[in-house]
Amino acid sequence: MSAHSPIRVKTLTIDGRECGAREDQTILEVARENNIFIPTLCNLPGLSNAGACRLCIVEVKGVNKLLPACVTHVSEGMEVTVNSERLAKFRRGILELVFAERNHVCSVCVTNGHCDLQSMALTLGMTHVHFPYRYPRLPVDASHERFVVDHNRCILCSRCVRVCDEIEGAHTWDIMSRGVECRVITDLAQPWGQSESCTGCGKCVQVCPTGALSEKGKSVAEMSKRRQFLPYLTLMREGRR
């Protein structure tokens, strides 16, 4: 931002607290700066926002629908509610649908104990899933030399798609089909091991919130993710621009 276009400051309230923000900030960013917790799964600092998981939904006064905080920009005088009975109920419902949609068997998962989805269930107080589980039959692709994709554990957050495109610059990952048929794919839905664009950097594995992407040779509960590289890489690139 040049000296000729000064940063405009907006003021808004979040759960009754007055907050100041830059006009280009999202509700989620401002909430985090003010230590106000909004649950997220698809968001990862250092990557763009996708609004995929909808856990960050908030109420904005004067708007009848709920808005995802990660992709909603602040405006002057905005009155935001991030904690209410209604929001807690909807967020739990969203989370339960995620669990019901695929086969998340925590006890035998490579990321048991290190999983964002598993810990979110605890954070949001999900005691059980009120919806009938779908138990879909989904493939596991272990064709890559070093990594595995297990579609049973994928929550379609698109972190892998974004890190591969935005940070690694390879765009090996994408999402295929619609609705319940959605699936993360490598190249043109070819086996990962045959992908010509994949550089084998493993960033997708590290940013994946669940056991959907893991390193080969890791057994139950052995796959913890290392994400320290991400803010560093993002910072270095911003500095170069």
Partner: protein
């Protein structure tokens, strides 16, 4: 009132699980002795009774509902229990017991009784209860009052839940799945 009448009538039920949740209950170790002064165990895998008794105060249920027998049993248990507690991930989510669901009961029977049998291979039609098409969590069949997650739930968690129930409080266990 005699001492026996003031004691809490506790039952434990083992559906489609590995018995790990029951093992975890036993892992409360010497605290079980103190517990025994406040409860009477009226039903469980090691209790020699023919039928699930009436007027049970608390029943802990391990395992998913996997067979016709499980379904029959959980309905009877619910009708005779005041507070029904699902103990562990199989009872709450289906967990490992439900991993057969996406390839079907027949594939499981074929694998267990035909492909892996060395002598007189046949799928049993008597005594062994028929499997349901899919294994499901307990709350999909009967109302559940308390959910205690974990595979297995840690002994300390089970003990604190039982402690709350004995004190007349409704427990709200905060623990992770898996």
């Amino acid at each position: 009132m005699t001492a026996a009448q003031t004691k809490v009538r506790l039952a434990t039920v083992w559906l489609d699980g590995c018995s790990g949740c029951h093992m975890s209950l036993l892992d409360t170790d010497e605290r079980l002795i103190a517990l025994a002064q406040h409860v009477t165990v009226v039903w469980g895998p090691l209790v020699d009774a023919k039928e699930f008794p009436e007027n049970v105060d608390v029943t802990l249920v391990e395992g998913a509902v996997s067979s016709e027998e499980d379904l029959h049993r959980i309905r009877l248990v619910r009708s005779r229990t005041k507070i029904l507690v699902t103990l562990g991930d199989c009872a709450i989510t289906g967990n490992v017991s439900a991993m057969r669901n996406n390839f079907g009961a027949n594939a499981v029977l074929k694998r267990a009784y035909l492909e892996n049998a060395t002598l007189d291979a046949q799928i049993p039609r008597q005594v062994i209860p028929p499997l349901l098409a899919i294994a499901r969590p307990v709350h999909e069949f009967v109302p559940v009052d308390v959910f205690v997650p974990g595979c297995p739930p840690p002994a300390d968690l089970i003990f604190s839940v039982l402690g709350d129930l004995l004190a007349g409080k409704m427990p709200n266990p905060a623990a992770k799945f898996g």
